[in-house]
């Protein structure tokens, strides 16, 4: 076991797979010599060579398009998009190509590919470094979508993603890179070294895709959450003293229906939390799933806490970010509902 930040855990996952499997290649903007603007690929070029870890031109469509080509050849590219906000020039290659190569060729060609990207707010990144575009990908048949909330999961999920035979969108909550963040921006930053999920096994292990996990068992209300908001929801529940069952979704697509249904059937209440804007956000999907499967168990209307339906502002970051106050209010409301 070693203490790792999320950055180190992600780097370690790529290192483990590059060491094990010659087919794994890593590239993206600034990822080669420099090791990425968040340093997730630091040292990989020196260790595995320029042909397996290299810089890419600033052309996201090209990064993903080339990766699709490599994947169909038989490599396992794990590419980085510098910020999730900059993935959109690659949207065509991801949604119309990578996602459908298996289907449209009737499995003649496959596309085992991982596209990593930092997501979410909390770093004063303004409208162009703070977005959470997961729903743009969960709406696409053929993709898998993963969002880890801690170093242990990040490493295990990334290894599983690289080993997966289908394209995986791997969203990394950038505010969690260096420590768990519960939304209390006014408090001192807690490093991962002080968190039990900063304990990361050395070498190979996986956290299976498609499996949610109960972060905190509870009886009163189920909270469905992922990424940074896992920590925010935990803090909110503790602060107001509600016995919430917090489910870290981890893989948004395919969704772990059983874990969700079992929990809501037990608690009879549900709050859904995400940073992304509310309208047509992934919360709408979660809400439908719960409503369909658990309607007769529900004792109160399901509540969503999400980003306001406006672009991410700069100076008003903390008024915009759905922090523990907003989540706490929703928890109270659902208990009264």
């Amino acid at each position: 076991m070693a203490r790792m930040t999320m950055i180190e855990a992600i780097r370690d996952a790529m290192d483990v797979k590059m060491t094990q499997d010659r087919r794994v290649v890593v590239f993206g903007e600034d990822v080669g010599y420099f090791g990425g603007v968040f340093r997730c690929t630091q040292g990989l070029q020196a260790k595995h060579g320029k042909e397996r870890c290299f810089d890419a031109p600033i052309n996201e469509g090209g990064i993903v398009g080339a990766a699709v080509g490599m994947a169909t050849y038989g490599l396992r590219p794990c590419v980085e998009i510098q910020f999730a906000d900059y993935v959109f020039p690659a949207y065509d290659q991801i949604t119309q190509e990578a996602a459908r190569i298996r289907f449209r060729s009737n499995q003649d060609f496959t596309c085992p590919l991982v596209i990593r990207m930092p997501t979410g707010g909390g770093i004063f990144g303004g409208q162009c470094h703070s977005q959470s575009p997961e729903a743009c990908f969960t709406h696409v048949a053929g993709l898998k979508v993963v969002i880890p909330s801690n170093p242990y999961d990040a490493k295990g999920l990334l290894i599983a993603a690289i080993e997966d035979d289908d394209p995986v969108i791997f969203l990394e909550p950038k505010r969690l890179y260096n420590g768990p963040f519960d939304g209390h921006h006014e408090r001192k930053i807690v490093p991962w070294a002080q968190h039990e999920l900063g304990e990361v096994p050395e070498g190979h292990y996986t956290v299976p895709l498609g499996k949610a996990i109960v972060r905190r068992p509870g009886a009163d209300v189920t909270v469905l959450v992922y990424g940074t908001m896992v920590h925010v929801a935990q803090a909110a529940a503790e602060e107001i003293g509600i016995d919430a069952e917090i489910i870290d979704i981890r893989t948004l697509l395919p969704l772990d229906l059983d874990t969700i249904e079992r929990s809501v059937a037990k608690t009879g209440r549900c709050v859904i939390v995400h940073e992304a804007t509310q309208t047509s956000g992934f919360g709408a999907e979660l809400l439908s799933v719960v409503q369909e499967a658990c309607f007769y168990h529900l004792e109160a209307p399901i509540i969503r806490v999400a980003g306001y339906d406006a672009p991410y502002p700069y100076a008003q970051e903390w008024a915009y970010f759905p922090g523990p106050d907003r989540v706490g209010r929703a928890l109270r409301d659902v208990m009264e509902g």
Binding site: E29, D30, G32, Y33, F34, V37, K50, E51, F54, D55, A56, P57, I58, N59, G61, G62, D85, Y86, F88, P89, F124, G125, G126, Q127, C128, H129, H185, E186, Q278, T279, Y308, D309, A310, P311, P313, Y314, A315, Q316, E317, W318, A319, Y320
Partner: protein, 414 residues
């Protein structure tokens, strides 16, 4: 036949990494005055030579030489002194913003140190009604267009002096009145938009000129190539500028395909192109005058590669000593734009060390007093955000606030 050669992946490397001796042998240069000034209606075909040569006006002694100097004409000392002042203001403003960042008063800045001649020179040649489509590294366009420094800093400090009310990341400004299109964080998008704006000017029967701006690294984006295609097909009044400062964060120009000069990109599209010493204020003035006149008179677009060097870090979150030699800036063969213009003005009897020192003091006072005023309205210090109005974050998403957003605001109590 046995095969002896096999393909290998070619991954370009810069000439020097930290600890190695910097080299700019790969940057083609030409002596001052060596590249002739063509007529403004020159055919794209006849500009092919220009893409790998370098237009320079100032020689090593600070004299203005060659036909580009003639085209510029006896440039009044006032225009040059104004340019010097704008460049000095931009540089000091950059320094102050970097310092403010270290003090926690702002969270992001991108300095244009060493690149000031391009923005401050080009802006001088634009007319009211023209429009820049800039990047985040172009404070000089705003400074030389007379954008108030207090508003500039208001955005940096996230306070109520920010005309954008805290909505955009610094230093991504917007000011239609100053010919400065709203800056996007998403690279290259503005480049093709500039072409569209110029197409609109043509459709409208107008002669307003658009200036597209992009960095060397961002020319790799598809939008850059779309822009060249649209410019080539519709020939609208647009000047397509590339600021080649040799680096895109940690990636040297070779990663963007810069082993051939970026100016040559124009040729495949049948566009005219020029390659210019971007640290030579007189060359910038002359070529800007030429390109803007060409566009305004309907002779079509031109692509200009401004050759310069990013002397500063990419931004406040970057440490270039990790990926390039510290001595690289000093090895840059085209010198410093402020020093070069100063030398020229002194050689021409239009300036002196004393006047320079006096100007420096005045500029510093002007910037510092603007900063004092701007800081009095609040900064980003403490990590809690700025003092810009909270309600602004719900406003301006649409012309009229839709019901769902109105309810969200109400619930937020803002």
């Amino acid at each position: 036949m046995t095969q002896t050669r096999r393909p290998r992946l070619h991954v370009p490397e810069p000439p020097a990494r930290p600890g190695q001796t910097p080299s700019f042998a790969h940057v083609p240069l030409s002596p001052a005055g060596a590249v002739a000034c063509p007529p403004v209606d020159v055919s794209p075909e006849d500009t092919k030579d220009f893409a790998s040569r370098l237009i320079r006006v100032l020689d090593d002694e600070g004299r203005a030489v060659g036909s580009w100097a003639d085209f510029l004409g006896a440039s009044e000392g006032d225009v040059l002194r104004r340019g010097l002042r704008d460049m000095m203001t931009t540089r000091f403003l950059d320094q102050r913003m970097l310092l403010a960042h270290r003090q926690g008063k702002t969270t992001n800045y991108a300095a244009s140190t060493g690149e000031e001649a391009i923005t401050c020179g080009f802006q001088r040649m634009l007319s009211p009604g023209d429009m820049n489509f800039p990047t985040y590294r172009q404070s000089g366009l705003l400074v030389s267009a007379g954008f108030p420094l207090t508003n500039f800093m208001g955005l940096q400090f996230g306070n109520d002096l920010d005309p954008l009310e805290g909505k955009n990341l610094p230093p991504m400004h917007s000011s239609k009145a100053h010919g400065f299109f709203t800056v996007s964080g998403n690279l290259a998008t503005q480049y093709v938009q500039a072409v569209g704006w110029a197409m609109a000017s043509a459709i409208d029967g107008n002669d307003r000129v658009a200036a597209a701006w992009i960095g060397d690294g961002a020319t790799a984006e598809g939008d850059f190539h779309s822009a060249l295609l649209y410019a080539s097909v519709y020939r609208p009044p647009v000047v397509l500028n590339i600021t080649n400062n040799q680096w895109a964060i940690s990636s040297f120009v070779g990663i963007a395909g810069g082993h051939v000069p970026f100016a040559t990109r124009a040729h495949g599209y049948g566009l005219a192109s020029l390659r210019v010493d971007g640290n030579d204020f007189l060359a910038v003035l002359a070529v800007s005058k030429w390109a803007i006149a060409r566009a305004r008179q309907g002779y079509g677009p031109v692509l200009i590669e401004w050759v310069t060097y990013r002397a500063a870090a990419h931004s406040t979150s970057d440490d270039p000593s990790v990926y390039r030699p510290k001595e690289e800036a000093a090895a840059w063969p085209l010198g410093d734009p402020i020093e070069r213009l100063k030398r020229h003005l002194i050689a021409a009897g239009e300036w002196s060390e004393e006047r320079h020192e006096q100007a420096r003091v005045e500029i510093e006072e002007e910037v510092l007093s603007a900063q004092k005023e701007a800081e009095s309205r609040g900064t980003m210090i403490g990590g809690g955000g700025g003092t810009a109005p909270l309600s602004a974050m719900f406003e301006g998403v649409y012309k009229e606030m839709p019901e769902h957003l109105r309810r969200q605001r109400q619930k937020a109590g803002i």
